[in-house]
């Protein structure tokens, strides 16, 4: 065990710094503001610090460690050149308040990303301001809210979400002040148009939905849902969490959506970093464009005198929409993430269609391989498809309810068993409409061999007897962690001696 707060070396041993420009005695603080006691931070040298964090890293699992089929998170390979690019001084060492002529390269990349996202989504305008998917949702909801206020339609106080929606959808709409109307999904997880019709009226501002849905199925009724909502004057919002399935094949614009967010960290491979950073741009149809937050970049041909700063003979500038909702993050969004995702996009260009096709190919192949291996091993009775569909999109679900009933192993047991096989577990217990749910999303960057091997190992786990599997995992740095204990005995920071 390496514990950070056990390191108690000498003062200032971590890294030496230059001397201050004036001696410390020159500093005068208001007496009430003079710090009485320095924080009890550890003292460690660089060798110790490097070893501590290396030790920690070895107790963590990433895509680089092994297959990471975490459904709805799109854990695809993160090309390393993107990290090299993000550390170039032209992005790492720039300040958001620098004048436009200092930032023409950044602005041109922003413009290119806006353009690409608009094309792929069938939207008219894009802002790169939101820094995460949930913030993109909130931003779009705010734009719709101001749009209706601008039109005097203040009676629209409701947002409709299917019960299978990601939790962020209702949370984001509620943050903007909307009442949430949850509509039940059909037994097969699909949208229930009758349930939708029953709640749609002139008090509805927005419907939020993802397509493919959270079961990985393409919702063929979404265009009709859009007609129903639009007929009552409402707007349609596309949760882009599952965008990886459809690039170049269809678009939210074609399906009738008015606004969409993109999870650049999913579709365009910003590394997920243990929980962030992400980037959550949104795209909207033209009637919502003037409500977007900046930064939005516009371009025009370069004028004389500007050439020395310009790239590609164009001049890029920030544009503030006429009715902008203002800011949702103080700066220009997660510019560093946008740059990485730009590098990822450049790798594909029009081949983004191939990316989505391979994501869908791999998901369907893995689904097939699980059934194939289960049949070969005689355990095909242990699980069923989470939804009855001939084809899945980029992800799919299974239900382990039969295994639970037959031998008493749960989806969580199987998940922990997979950890022992050297895999990250798929998403479990989401969406709730599938009992003992397990959701797999292999992404396009996994090889067939990996998928085949995983299917074999998955079936191997199903064959472990229940008592043994309840004990899993046994090969991981720690075994099953007691989350109830953590909540009942809150220990949210290092207990220093005088606090114990």
């Amino acid at each position: 065990m390496s514990r950070l707060f056990d390191f108690a070396g000498s003062a200032g041993m971590g890294y030496s710094q230059p001397q201050p420009l004036l001696p410390k005695t020159s500093i005068a603080l208001p007496p009430s503001l003079s710090r009485q006691k320095l924080p009890r931070w550890p003292r460690l040298s660089e060798p110790e610090m490097v070893r501590h964090y290396t030790w920690l890293s070895r107790r963590n699992f990433g895509i680089d460690t092994g297959f990471y089929p975490l459904g709805s998170c799109t854990m695809k390979h993160n090309p390393r050149v993107n990290e090299v690019i993000a550390q170039l001084p032209g992005i790492a060492d720039i300040h958001p308040h620098q004048p436009e002529h200092h930032l023409q390269g950044l602005l041109s990349i922003f413009h290119e990303m806006q353009h690409m996202l608009a094309i792929c989504s069938g939207m008219d305008a894009v802002t790169l301001q939101p820094v995460a998917g949930a913030q993109g949702e909130f931003t779009a909801v705010r734009c719709v809210q101001e749009y209706f206020r601008n039109r005097g339609e203040t009676q629209r106080t409701k947002v409709i979400v299917p019960d299978s929606a990601h939790g962020t959808n209702p949370a984001s709409a509620a943050m903007a002040g909307y009442d949430i109307v949850e509509i039940p999904s059909l037994a097969n997880g699909r949208i229930d148009l009758d349930a939708l019709r029953a709640v749609v009226d002139e008090t509805v501002a927005l419907m939020m939905i993802t397509n493919p849905n959270t079961l990985g199925l393409f919702e063929t009724d979404v265009p009709e849902a859009a007609e129903i909502v639009h007929a009552a004057g409402g707007q349609m919002y596309y949760d882009g969490a599952n965008f990886n399935a459809i690039l170049g094949r269809t678009s939210p614009g074609m399906m009738g959506f008015d606004a969409v967010h993109f999870n650049l960290h999913k579709t365009f491979s910003q590394p997920h970093g243990g929980g962030g950073p992400g980037s959550g741009p949104i795209g909207v149809k033209s009637h919502l464009a003037e409500f977007l937050p900046s930064p939005i970049v516009k371009k025009r041909p370069v004028l004389s005198g500007e050439e020395q700063f310009a790239v590609d003979d164009m001049w890029y500038s920030w544009y503030e929409p006429k009715h902008t909702i203002g800011k949702v993050q103080q700066w220009h969004g997660n510019a560093g993430a946008v740059i990485r995702c730009w590098a990822y996009y450049r790798r594909y260009g029009f081949g983004l269609k191939d990316m989505s096709e391979h994501a869908v190919l791999n998901a369907n192949y893995l689904r097939h391989a699980l059934h194939r291996e289960a049949a070969a091993a005689g355990v095909s009775h242990m699980f069923v498809d989470g939804a009855d569909a001939e084809v899945a999109k980029h992800e799919f679900t299974i239900s382990l309810q039969p295994a639970k009933e037959a031998v008493g192993i749960s989806a969580m047991d199987v998940a922990k068993g997979l950890l022992d096989q050297g895999y990250m577990a798929p998403t479990v217990y989401f969406p709730l409409v599938v009992p003992e749910c397990m959701m797999f999303e292999p992404t396009e960057t996994e090889s067939r061999d990996t998928l085949d091997q995983f299917a074999k190992d998955f079936v191997k786990v199903l064959q472990i007897d229940a008592d043994t599997l309840h004990e899993a995992p046994v090969t991981t740095p720690v075994r099953r962690v007691d989350e109830v204990y953590a909540a009942r005995n809150l220990c949210l920071k290092h207990p220093f001696d005088d606090e114990q």
């Binding site: 603080l29 009485q36 990433g62 993160n78 001084p89 998917g133 939790g167 269809t250 396009e444």
Partner: protein, 458 residues
């Protein structure tokens, strides 16, 4: 050709095994009228070599601050991040992991974030910290909605918070976006001519849900008066203090003068300016706010063998469980940048922090002295203590001054008329630990020249 697809060339074999004949079969569920018929009108795929060449060309067109002399701050600061931080944070086990839903294989990040919580808690003097919000502005905005959730029942000024009138418009805009949905009204606290908070206006805030002020304030002033706020507003009104975290190497931790919540831009610890993102927001609070605070929290626990282990805790506040009743919609946050912060703070240690703060503050003192000597230029808040930045009042517009300085390779600071439209001649000059004495001399020399140019009309 795209080079990231390992199953390129195996498509047909895989399809045939599944009983399909073409990729189109996998999209047969798309209704005809929503199918894209034409290829995406985008350029062809590029090789890694071409991408990096283009990146160098385009990003090379930006003026990196290291290539000029910069006095631009105003919320994002030039800093030095030790090399080991970048080397460690790009280890794939950290970089390519996601939210630690499976704690058994995520102990590294969980423990690192628990340690981060401890580092922040110690820094700001409060017992609880989450593992980051998006940035300082969203942390401040979430703090406002949090204090209303906690205090509204007993508040005599319901759904009301008070915010320093100096808070920059971009930050205020974030607060307004977050507050309007909860029906929270934001009122403003006044400032004195010397830039300090008008404590008489703070009396009006008693009985509201909370007060938000900054230390140092947006003009760089360290305001001793803030230590009296809690006494004025009482226990049922929260004191939220926004900080520049490096300053806390010299300045008292707000938790020790009554702050209930401390927020701030974590960027100076661990993250280069990066155009303003990704950075990370600090959020720390005292116990009464724990169950209604936003963001993820790591707790120390045990595993089935009673071995020390870490996991996410208090998740019932969060959107994936509580849905529309969650304390915040935040899911993806800034964990990796917070990890960089933790690494940087670990290397600094307490005395390194104090030294770093001293470097920042002494550079500020030197700059104030040098600029105050220039004829025609005044420092309206000269007598105050400053951290990182201070106001310079110019004889002509700040915009004109910045244009002149730009022509000689200096980013002279921030034009404060962008925040306060009536202050057309106010320039916010920022210095950090990265500022050199020669750079201050250079700025002073050019300011003197510019100031003396009488005929130029802005």
């Amino acid at each position: 050709m795209v080079d990231q697809l390992p199953n390129r060339g195996l498509e047909l074999e895989m399809l045939e095994e599944m009983g399909f004949t073409s990729i189109d079969d996998l999209f047969s569920d798309l209704p005809e009228h929503v199918r894209m018929q034409e290829p995406l009108p985008l350029p062809p795929p590029q090789s890694e070599e071409e991408i990096i060449a283009d990146a160098r060309r385009l990003l090379g067109a930006n003026r990196a601050m290291g290539d000029v002399v910069s006095f631009l701050g105003a919320g994002i600061y030039r800093n030095y991040v030790p090399a080991s931080v970048f080397q460690l944070v790009t280890r794939g086990e950290f970089l390519t992991s996601y939210t630690p839903y499976q704690p058994e294989v995520s102990q590294g990040m969980l423990q690192a974030m628990w340690e981060f919580q401890t580092l922040i808690s110690e820094l700001v003097g409060l017992p609880i910290a989450n593992l980051s919000l998006y940035d300082g502005s969203t942390a401040a905005a979430e703090a406002l909605t949090c204090v209303v959730r906690v205090h509204n029942r007993k508040a005599t000024q319901k759904d009301t918070v008070y915010v320093s009138e100096l808070v920059p418009p971009d930050r205020m805009s974030v607060m307004q976006n977050y507050c309007q949905g909860a029906g929270i009204s934001i009122k403003y606290l006044k400032h004195n001519l010397d830039g300090t908070l008008d404590l008489t206006s703070v009396r009006d805030a008693a009985g509201s849900c909370g007060v938000y002020v900054e230390q140092p304030n947006p003009l760089g002033i360290l305001d001793g008066g803030l230590t009296q706020i809690k006494e004025i507003i009482g226990e049922h009104t929260a004191l939220i203090v926004g900080v520049q975290p490096v300053s806390l190497g010299l300045v008292e931790a707000p938790g020790n003068y009554g702050a209930d919540i401390v927020v701030g831009e974590g960027q100076p610890f661990g993250s280069p300016p990066t155009g303003g993102g990704p950075i990370y927001g600090i959020f720390a609070c005292s116990k009464p706010y724990l169950r209604l605070m936003p963001g993820r929290i790591v707790g120390r626990s045990i595993d089935v063998d009673e071995k020390e282990a870490y996991c996410l805790t208090l998740s019932t506040r969060e959107q994936h469980i509580r849905r529309h009743r969650a304390t915040s919609n935040i899911c993806t946050n800034e964990t990796l940048i917070a990890l960089m912060g933790a690494m940087h703070m670990s290397l600094l240690g307490p005395e390194g922090l104090e030294h770093l703060a001293t470097r920042n503050m002494s550079a500020c003192i030197l700059a104030k002295q040098k600029l105050a000597e220039i004829e025609g230029i005044t420092l309206p808040h000269f007598t105050g203590s400053h951290f990182n930045e201070f106001v310079v009042e110019l004889p002509k517009s700040a915009a004109n001054c910045l244009n002149y300085l730009d022509s000689v390779g200096i980013i002279g600071g921030f034009d404060l008329s962008r925040w306060y439209p009536t202050q057309g001649n106010w320039l916010l000059v920022s210095v950090t630990d990265q500022t050199k004495a020669e750079e201050i001399e250079l700025l002073a020399a050019h300011l003197a020249v510019w100031s003396a140019i009488k005929e130029v009309i802005a």
